[in-house]
Amino acid sequence: MHRFILKRLLQFIPTVIGVTLIIFLLLNLVPGNAALSSAGRLELDPEVVAQLRKDFELDKPVIVRYVNYLGRLAQGDMGKSMLRRYDVSEVVFGRLGATLKLACAALAIALIVGIPIGFISALKQGTWLDIGLAVVSVAGVSIPQFWLGILLMYVFSYMFNILPTSGYGGGAFSNLILPALTLGVGYAALLARITRAAVIEVLAADYVRTARAKGLSALAINLRHVMRNSFVLILTTSALLFGSLMGQTVVVERVFSWPGVGSLLVESIFQRDIPVAQGCLLLIIMVFLIVNLVVDILYRVINPRIDFK
């Protein structure tokens, strides 16, 4: 197990280098004047623009800038924000907590709502209940986050006036509810569909038929065989969902003024704050890689027959 973890960690290095190269090239090849954007407006004295280009090393070739960037990154230095003028690591890590909080809350909603609905749908396959839940799931997947966010805000903040409309509110739980619901609903619906499919597949397996033939009760079959065996697929999906959630928070963060990495990434791309955009992407990718590693380890815990070799 230890060798496996070490091997996977070592695999991170070429992955990260490859990713940084792609990110760096993409962001630096995007048209637009980063020096002007760094000043926050489009009309500036040309001398000031030239000075800013020099100060931010934008006058150097892309490859020189990439090598310099990689060298600094190896020492843990993600560079300085062109707009904020202080360390990127502070800017990005300052936002990570809020995004993780939102992603975890949304994932919790997705798991708590999605898995039971999927199970019930599969067990009641072909009934009116199954059809009704399928309609709800499809609706959940299809609702645009922006529209749902505004709708929830209208109902809970304006009509009933029981929840704050937006903002981080010092990390209060009440501020988390609406953004987490908005983000979680779609994922809950998706997870319900995936769980339903996974459970139906397991229900048709030979070992379940054998268990039934042995005379085991439906509860025992569902708990011992169906749940456990369908859980591998559900776990994989949930982990992928979490990784995807990290990058999908942008709309919700914008609607609810939630101070996360997603909105920071989009802002920094539009504002051509290249170091911050690089930092955000790198962080999201690192979280994704770590989550995948954790899932691989959990596979083994759930099903010891899985061989890491």
């Binding site: 000043a39 000031v48 003028r85 304006y158 539009f270």
Partner: protein, 537 residues
């Protein structure tokens, strides 16, 4: 005699009563409470260091933490002395001597002196990367040499005493228009030196509010500064700026009573303007931003003045502004908006006259028209949507309009490279009318604002003359004449000035129509009454 005495007494009583009435108006300002405002523009606040940013989103907050040498006066519609007042002006109109107002304290408890003015502006010129606001300081003699490292001090900036200093300018301009800007605010050197690059994270200024808390991407909280130099102000205890880009979210927050005032977007404007309750508390102002289409003279048909005039005549701006933009725009006349000191109230726009436009097209040899591609962003007020509407008007004079939507940075690159035929945008057109019109002076490079390479000797001469006169009325007259020439040459198609709209709750008092940028509210003057859910106790 008795009658005279009685009349005198009555007059005195009336005056006293008037005084009381005026004072009582001031006294009715209630103290305390929390005000929830918005920072509605492009995303997070980036820095609260006024020298490090020129973004409105940042400066609308910093303008309440810091103070600049001058302050924009809504009442006088021009900058007036704030931290200091002019005591003398030299005969050549280049050297201004100032006396600092007494009792100006920084939030760290230290009194402001002349040295702080000098240190702050030297910092702007010497910081690395350079301050985006450094250009405003370069109007001072010796500033460029100091920035280049060729001088140890700014030669035109001299300390006379702790409370007196003088500024020598490079040319005859009103310094108020340069030094009122929030980006030229005065900072305490010891606090900046102690915090370094992070001064903008917990700033210390001399404004009515102290920095409280900043949750990046969510909100900034400011608290009342008890030693603010205007006695009795500010009235509010706490001021929150909530970062809210989404107009729909702001709308719900405002209607639920969470926000005390919001910026209204075009989509929401008709609802607010037509609602009997909401419309009572709207503040509308023609902001100093002129919306236009740059007509590139390097595209052959647009090099002909008659064609450009025909374009202006063939489009009904009023229809676009009232229907497509739902009335959230002010119809255009010249380059300067009605809130500008240089606006000519007697001037008239081109009007809408398709027959005359057709005649001009025929005279220019374009009776059969031509193709015109107009580039723009997706901005709802000055983007490709507007182009699609005006294309229907230009069809009448056989100009076939196509449009392409681009991202702002890419659009700018195309603009300065002259790689466009038409390009829709919004440019600042104030507050200094001379500076605003100088954008189109033939000596102004296209990268500095003269994007259409406008060149007219008569126009240049009027501006040069206006820049060399001390007679304010004569200057305004020259500027008005220049604006009329620019309008007549139709080098750009002007379609409106932004109508900025703020909606406030009924308990809010003191919000103003700030023409330079409506979000630059001076919260030293704003208060909330006891009907506010966040009123002081």
């Amino acid at each position: 005699m008795k009658i005279k005495k009685v009349l005198t007494l009555l007059t005195a009583l009336t005056c006293a009563a008037g005084g009381i009435a005026f004072q009582s108006h001031a006294e009715t300002a209630q103290k305390g409470g929390t005000f929830n405002f918005v920072a509605p523009y492009d995303g997070s606040i980036l820095s609260l260091d006024p020298h490090m940013t020129s973004k409105e989103q940042d400066l609308l907050v910093t303008s309440n933490i810091f103070r600049s040498l001058y302050q924009w006066s809504v009442e006088e519609n021009r900058p007036i002395g704030e931290l200091a007042n002019v005591s003398t002006i030299s005969d050549d109109g280049l050297t201004y001597t100032y006396k600092l107002n007494s009792n100006i304290m920084f939030h760290n408890g230290r009194a402001m002196t002349s040295d702080d003015i000098i240190w702050s502006w030297q910092r702007m010129l010497s910081m690395k990367p350079v301050s985006p606001n450094a250009g405003h300081i370069e109007i001072i003699e010796g500033a460029e040499a100091y920035k280049a490292g060729d001088a140890k001090a700014i030669s035109g900036l001299n300390r006379i005493s702790d409370s007196e200093f003088s500024i020598k300018l490079t040319k005859r301009v009103d310094p108020g228009y340069y030094f009122y800007l929030p980006g030229t605010a005065i900072v305490p050197h010891e606090a900046v030196e102690a915090a370094g690059d992070k001064f903008g994270l917990a700033p210390i200024g001399s404004g009515p509010f102290k920095f409280g808390e900043w949750v990046n991407g969510s909100h900034v909280t400011l608290t009342k500064f008890d030693n603010y130099y205007e006695k009795g102000k500010p009235y509010l205890d706490t001021l929150n700026f909530r970062i809210m880009q989404e107009g729909a979210a702001r709308d719900i927050s405002f209607k639920s009573g969470e926000l005390d005032s919001i910026l209204i977007e075009a989509a929401q404007y008709p609802q607010y303007a037509n609602d009997p309750k909401l419309s009572k508390n709207l503040i509308e102002v023609a902001e100093m931003y002129t919306r236009l289409i740059n007509l590139n003279p390097k595209y052959k048909p647009l090099a002909d003045r008659r064609v450009r005039q025909a374009i202006s005549l063939a489009i009904n701006e009023d229809a676009i502004n009232s229907r497509f933009l739902k009335g959230k725009a002010v119809n255009p006349i010249g380059w300067l908006p009605p809130t500008s000191e240089g606006f000519d109230p007697n001037a008239k726009g081109f009007g809408y006259d398709v027959e005359k436009a057709r005649k001009l097209m025929a005279e220019a040899g374009y009776a059969d028209g031509f193709d015109l591609e107009v580039l723009g962003t997706g901005n709802e007020s000055y983007g490709v949507g507007v182009v699609e509407v005006l294309g229907q008007f230009l069809d009448d004079i056989n100009i076939k309009v196509t449009t392409q939507q681009l991202e702002g940075g890419i659009l700018y690159d195309r603009l300065v490279a002259d790689d466009y035929q038409g390009l829709i945008w919004s440019f600042g057109s104030g507050p200094d009318p001379l500076k605003a019109l100088n954008r189109w002076h033939s000596k102004t490079a296209n990268t500095s604002g003269n994007y259409v390479h406008y060149s007219n000797a008569e126009y240049d001469a009027l501006l040069d003359k206006a820049g060399n006169t001390n007679d304010q009325a004569a200057r305004v007259d020259l500027l008005r004449r220049a604006d009329r020439i620019f309008q007549d040459d139709a080098s750009v198609w002007i379609f409106n000035y932004n109508k900025a709209v703020l909606a406030s709750q009924p308990w809010v008092h003191g919000m103003k129509g700030v023409a330079i940028e409506i979000m630059y509210q001076d919260f030293a003057d704003i208060w909330i009454d006891s009907t506010s859910p966040r009123a002081g106790k």
